[in-house]
Each structure stands twice: as structure tokens, then as C-alpha cells.
Symmetry: C2
Subunit: 214 residues, 2 copies
DNA sequence: GGTTACCTACCGACCGTTCGTTAGGCGATC
DNA sequence: GATCGCCTAACGAACGGTCGGTAGGTAACC
């Protein structure tokens, strides 16, 4: 395949120092990390194993030493994202207190997860359900969405949230806003997850208009 | 290819009665309409010409009688969506009056376009820039986004929009909310474009919280 | 009311290429 | 020398696209 500009030649970068025995190079995790990035750049279906190999700085066949195939890379990435999102819904602040505060915590936590696991969540939000792996991820994602819709409904019932919008529509627009973050957020630009989540909360709960300030 | 459950067998449906001479069947427009739908269901890259042919109830080669190839179908769909969106920005209500009102008109009009041209706009929002056609569409879309960001900036400068959020972030979140509509909106369910646009405006400008009512 | 001309819609077979995946062996590091 | 990472070479299947030929339909002419 002719060694050409590896793009991500050696791993041994980021996170832990990772000391393994044997020949240095990629491992399953570093392959997954790069794969998720490339899947997002070109789309999952639009990414060939050859594309992936080029980004890793190895040949196609080397990838199969680390993972069983393209599908496994997708599944592991999607599971990672979903696990992190569901963890937010199990936090104490997401299960106790007024509905609107629980909703805000889920919102805030989702933004945090989205930023921390950006490539994986991005991939999750683009899944179309073509294969079994994708269908399974969509099912889990739908569960999450229902959880949020229920919070909005509770908030309306408690008089905390305006009742002149449909709860299903409101929750969808709300999370549309959150999810759209993956389309433009760049980690290295001085905008951290908490600032972003705060801006989002302000707009979502109090609106853009200047007079309704706080 | 053995005639199996055409899914969209004869056209001659919807819109105008369409009287053409010659053999009845599909034409370039009906092919485009079906293609856009299938592209959204399976993703552009995930859709083979064979998939398309099956959905049309014809063989692969018949498609090439109507269009030059898969790429042309994509280009025509994306252009359709972009043309409609830019038309909104040229409306009088988008160019005169207070910035916040112009912004609301663009918002409202975008929701309308999004609903009227759902499959084409959906496709546009999922483009990743893999090919030249996609890159060109992304460029045009970026122009549109800048236009909106400028409106938000103007609104802040005029004191009409809260100044405690970054204008770039605000406009992105705003249109993230709008664009997310393509992920769940179903035309045949009693929610029309204007109702939806109104709900969105309420949330966007006055917020979800009950007290800031209007 | 046949015949002819012409258009459009379509089929089946096939092309070259790229896809995801596999087999078996070599070299680096501890 | 055990472990691990990666290579070359190749596979069958699926891809987008091409080709020559065929069938359905309208309309003008006799």
C-alpha cells in the first residue's frame, strides 16, 4: 500500500502512557479512536477499510489484527456513546427534585458527554438503521429520548414549563439543539463544555429575547 | 431483475396530472423524488443503484435513461434544497425591519422550506463533503449560515437579543433546533409547518420556562 | 382504420473497479 | 523465544455504469 503520510503514524499519544509488551504500534483502542474520527469525516458507509488504514498509517489487513471488522468498530463506538448518555440519566440530580431541574441536569450532562465523547456521539446521531448493529443503537437511543420527553411532560404538569407547546415537540426541539453541537463544536477553541451547556440552558429556558433576562 | 413488489410502481400520482406523450412510466422528476426518499432512508453512500431500482420498480439500467448517474441525483436534490432556502433570505421580511424580526422571518421560512422540501433538505443536512458535488453544497450552506449569524449579531448590537451568549454559538444552536426537525417530522400527522414554526419561535425567543410567558 | 415514423421507457448481460475480508509469513521488542 | 504488530497477496462479492436491443405509446399520413 506504499507508506504515504501516515496522518496518525505512531499511537503512544494522548491519555495514559500505555506501556505494553511486544512491538509498539496501534492497539484496539487507538484503532477505535481513529476509526470514529474518520467515520465522522466521511460517513460510516463512505469510509472504506482502505481509508481507515491510510489514516492509521498501516495496511488494511493490519486492522484485522486488532478488531474483527468494520462492524465491530461501529458497534463499540455506538455502545460507548450510549453508555455515557444513560449514565447521565442515572445521576442523582437527574432523578430527584423538580422536573425542570432534572431536565436541566440531563441537558447539561448530555452536553458534557457530547463534548467528552464527541466522535462516538456524533456517529450515534448519524446512524440510519441499515444494519442490525445500527438498529440496536437506534432502539437504545429512542429509550433515551422517551426519558427526556417524560421529563418535559412532568415539568408541564407541575407548571414549571410553558404549556403552549406540545411536550413531544418541545423535547425534540430541545435535544435537536443539543445534538446539533456535534456539527460544529471543536474541542480546541477555548469553549468548554460547561460554558456551552450554560449558554444552551439560557436560550432553552429563558429564550433569546433580551427583556426576559436573568 | 425479476419484477418484485415495485414499491412505487407507476408514477402518475401526486401533484399535477402530468400528461406526456409516449410510453407511460417514470420521468426524471419522479426518479429524483424516489431517489431523495431512499437516500434518506439508507444514507446516500449506503444506497446502491440496485436499491434505487428496486424502489422504482425497474432495473438499474432504466435509471440511466433518466439521469446521468447517482451523482446527478444528489446534485439536483441538494440544489433544490439550497435554492429554496436562499429564496427565504431574499424575501422582503428578511431584508427590512428590526434584526430580530428579520431573524424570525428567516427562521419561520426555513421551517416552511424544510417541511415542503423535506427529503431534499434532509439530504443537504447530512452531506459530509466526500465529493465535489457535496463540497459545493457545503459551501453554499455555509453562506446561508453566515447570513443567519450576521442577523443574530445585528440583533445583539441593537439590544434586541440577549448579549450574554456568543452570537456564533447562539445562531448555531438556533439553527441546530430548526435543522433537527428533519430527524422526526412526518408530514402526515396533523402538525403543519406554521404551527411548528410558531412553537419553535416561542421556545427560541421566550424560552421554555413558564414564567416568561406571552 | 391501417400503416409508418418516432419518441420514451425499459431489459439483460456484462464491464472494470472497489469493497470487506482472509491466509500465511516476516520483523521488532521485551 | 514469546509476544505482538504488520506485511504481501489474494479472494469472492458488490459496486456504479455501459451497451445493444426491445416494447409501449402518440400522432401524422394515406
Amino acid at each position: 500500500m506504499s507508506r504515504t503520510s501516515p496522518a496518525e503514524p505512531a499511537p503512544a499519544r494522548g491519555e495514559v502512557a500505555r506501556r505494553r509488551s511486544g512491538r509498539p504500534g496501534h492497539d484496539a483502542d487507538s484503532v477505535l479512536r481513529v476509526a470514529a474520527r474518520v467515520f465522522n469525516e466521511r460517513g460510516y458507509d463512505g469510509t472504506s477499510m482502505e481509508d481507515l488504514a491510510r489514516a492509521l498509517g498501516v495496511t488494511k489487513s493490519a486492522i484485522y489484527h486488532h478488531v474483527s471488522g468494520k462492524t465491530e468498530l461501529l458497534r463499540r463506538s455506538l455502545d460507548l456513546a450510549l453508555d455515557a448518555l444513560f449514565a447521565v440519566t442515572r445521576e442523582e440530580a437527574s432523578t430527584t427534585g423538580p422536573a425542570i431541574d432534572r431536565l436541566e441536569n440531563v441537558l447539561h450532562g448530555s452536553v458534557r458527554v457530547l463534548v467528552e465523547q464527541l466522535p462516538h456521539v456524533t456517529l450515534l446521531l448519524r446512524v440510519r438503521g441499515n444494519t442490525e448493529v445500527e438498529k440496536h443503537a437506534l432502539t437504545r437511543r429512542r429509550e433515551f429520548d422517551h426519558l427526556v420527553a417524560d421529563l418535559v411532560r412532568e415539568g408541564i404538569a407541575a407548571g414549571e414549563i410553558r404549556d403552549d407547546v406540545d411536550p413531544a415537540v418541545a423535547s425534540r426541539l430541545l435535544f435537536g439543539m443539543v445534538n446539533s453541537i456535534v456539527e460544529w463544536y471543536k474541542p480546541d477553541r477555548g469553549l468548554d463544555a460547561d460554558e456551552l451547556a450554560d449558554s444552551l440552558s439560557r436560550i432553552a429556558f429563558r429564550g433569546l429575547r433580551a427583556d426576559g433576562s436573568a
